[in-house]
């Protein structure tokens, strides 16, 4: 920073994070995480197109602890990003900006994404 010594406005670190702030950055983080996941998604299709052995190799790679954790993480990221995305779409109509409403929809999105992730893996396995 070239302007050291000059007064600064309060930075992120001094705030007690309200839940809406947590969800805001989580939306971006889950988005970027899924952008990386998109490569694995395409690899899944490519390896399947390449034949049974390549497909098996892909499945084997993703069946380890790390692979499973990644898949659970990406599925949770998807459900979170989708639910919070709908929250954003509602905001786009000009509704839901009231502080209490925004807090409530934030907690709803968290509960929803955890519940749906659990239900998804329960149903899939």
């Amino acid at each position: 920073m070239s302007n050291s010594g000059r007064p600064l406005s309060p930075h992120l670190s001094i705030y007690r994070w309200p839940i809406t702030m947590v969800l805001s950055i989580l939306h971006r983080m889950t988005g970027v995480a899924m952008s990386i996941g998109l490569i694995v998604f395409a690899a899944w299709l490519m390896q399947t197109a390449a034949g049974p052995e390549a497909h098996l190799r892909f499945n084997y790679m993703m069946s380890g602890t790390v692979g499973k954790l990644l898949l659970i993480g990406w599925s949770c990221a998807f459900f979170f990003h989708a639910a919070n995305g709908v929250r954003h779409l509602v905001w786009d109509t000009g509704r839901g900006f009231d502080k209490r409403q925004a807090d409530r929809s934030a907690w709803f999105v968290i509960a929803f994404s955890v519940a749906v992730t659990a239900a998804f893996w329960w149903a899939a396995l």
């Binding site: 971006r28 998109l38 998604f41 395409a42 299709l45 399947t48 499945n59 779409l89 998804f120």
Partner: protein, 125 residues
């Protein structure tokens, strides 16, 4: 007296040099992804197993192949739009910024083409 040029006033885009196109494209692809992503999640749960034959049989159905290709393209598009904003927000060095945006665009187009090509191979083959 306004210091803006007549051309600048006509374009009406301000310092962002951009209109609402990006924002709107992000919303349209988001709405599409609610449906396509929901369908994909449901299909994964419904899939007998992740074995080669079951996956091939699933993608072999024409409607599944079309929806999967749409999902891949829309995911890549939505992901590109999102990553673009992240880069624009955090990368400020002009050279690095342009290179990052270029690399992101190349990577997204590559992933989209790879996914669609794989689906075609599986569907036709």
């Amino acid at each position: 007296m306004s210091l803006r040029t007549p051309l600048g006033r006509v374009l009406g885009l301000g310092s962002a040099k951009n209109g609402t196109d990006h924002w709107w494209a992000q919303r349209v692809s988001a709405v599409a992804l609610i449906f396509l992503g929901g369908w994909f999640g449901y299909s994964l749960v419904r899939l007998e197993s992740q074995t080669y034959l079951d996956v091939i049989r699933f993608i072999g159905q024409p409607l599944n192949a079309v929806l999967l290709a749409l999902l891949s393209l829309t995911l890549a598009y939505h992901s590109y739009l999102g990553v673009q904003v992240v880069i624009e927000d955090y990368v400020h060095t002009p050279g690095t910024k342009v290179v990052s945006l270029l690399l992101s665009r190349f990577a997204h187009v590559f992933v989209a083409i790879a996914a669609v090509y794989a689906i075609l191979i599986i569907g036709i083959g």
